[in-house]
């Protein structure tokens, strides 16, 4: 015959009616009193995350497919060729703009040099090379040479002006060399 455990009869509130003493009974008590709420809370969080993961995974997969399809489209030979071609043209147009705006035009400088020579000096030889100018003149009098020399030396566009004068039988030979100041780009 089963006999129910006899519960102590007491009205002592400081001593609980039933208080287990072994560890397994305490663990069971804890699980039923506190642990269940913790577990439920964790299960709720995990379940929520599990469901949201379905949604996120779907979104992730859709995006992957979309990106892959676009990459495949761009990997097409025609598209690849066009990409390179357009890039080249764009760079070329930038280059053209650079040389159009960045380089100095020398025809105007040469024009000023030749037109700046007074009529009393006859050009025997002229050479303009990357801003370096060399003239060989003949003249009948020294005044014209002196005037031209001082005109060149006072012009801020020219520097390092040098004149070499030699006298022939009837004419005076003059070699003038100088440089053009190059403007900064």
């Amino acid at each position: 015959m089963f006999k129910s455990e006899k519960q102590p009869q007491s009205i002592d509130f400081l001593q609980p009616v039933y208080s287990p003493t072994d560890i397994w009974s305490n663990a069971y008590m804890w699980l039923t009193e506190v642990g269940k709420y913790l577990l439920i809370a964790v299960e709720v969080i995990v379940l929520g995350v599990f469901i949201s993961r379905f949604v996120l995974d779907k979104k992730n997969n859709d995006l992957t497919e979309e990106v892959n399809s676009k990459v495949t489209l761009l990997s097409n030979d025609t598209w690849k060729k066009n990409t390179v071609l357009f890039d080249n043209y764009q760079s070329l147009l930038f280059d053209v703009q650079k040389i159009r705006e960045g380089q100095e035009i020398n025809s105007t400088a040469v024009s000023e040099l030749i037109n700046g020579v007074p009529s009393s000096l006859k050009i025997k030889n002229f050479s303009f090379t990357r801003g370096k100018v060399s003239f060989l003149f003949t003249a009948n009098n020294l005044n014209a040479i002196k005037n031209y020399e001082s005109a060149l030396k006072s012009n801020t566009d020219y520097h390092d002006v040098r004149f070499t004068i030699s006298k022939d039988s009837n004419e005076i030979n003059v070699r003038a060399t100088f440089s053009l100041y190059e403007e900064e780009e």
Partner: protein, 205 residues
């Protein structure tokens, strides 16, 4: 046996050392430990996973936007290129990619004769870069063009201006002449110009 009566001090002692209080402490410690274990072992990994997937999604969205932008730009450029194809084709002649300066030569001949000069010789050579050349272009590389022409000094400036006015943007780098004339009374001029070409032969393909 006579039951001994309890005084206040003993009651307080009973309360302080009550097994219920000990059980309460034990429950609290176990609860904290289990909570930490659940946070570390269950919640943290799931949050990390979600955050990783979110990062992946953000990255893929960024890539997707960039790719969409690229496709739309290329489509637009393709449309513009088709409309302006004739102009772009002329760029091949102006800045040749295979040293084929046929348009330049045709233009030079035309400019020279228009200014009353006769073309003596034309030669191309590698450009010797100097301190005055400061342009840093990505594809256009300078090339040297040497031209000798016969004519009169009076037309020289117009000839040089016309040379520099050609669509290839050439620059006259050197000019030389002497007062010596031939039987027809014409002077020989040596003109050196900087022109441009593209070294990559597949540039336009």
């Amino acid at each position: 046996m006579e039951k001994k009566g309890l005084n206040t001090t003993e009651y307080i002692k009973i309360i302080k050392e009550s097994p219920e209080k000990k059980k309460g402490y034990a429950f609290a410690i176990v609860t904290v430990v289990v909570a930490i274990a659940l946070v570390v072992l269950a919640i943290r990994p799931t949050i990390l996973t979600i955050s990783r997937i979110n990062k992946e999604i953000k990255e893929k969205e960024r890539i997707d936007t960039a790719l969409t932008q690229k496709i739309s730009t290329l489509t637009e450029l393709d449309k513009q290129y088709t409309e302006q194809k004739a102009n772009f084709t002329s760029l091949k002649l102006i800045y040749p990619a295979n040293a084929n300066f046929s348009l330049l030569l045709a233009n030079i001949e035309s400019v020279v004769s228009r200014n009353g000069y006769a073309l003596g010789s034309v030669g191309f050579d590698k450009y010797d870069k100097n301190e005055n050349y400061k342009i840093s272009a990505k594809y256009l590389v300078p090339w040297s063009l040497r031209v000798t022409v016969k004519g009169r000094v009076v037309n020289l400036i117009n000839l040089l201006k016309d040379f520099e006015g050609m669509p290839m943007y050439p620059v006259v780098e050197s000019v030389s002449y002497s007062s010596q004339v031939d039987k027809a009374g014409l002077t020989t001029f040596g003109i050196n110009m900087r022109i441009y070409q593209i070294e990559n032969s597949n540039f336009y393909e």
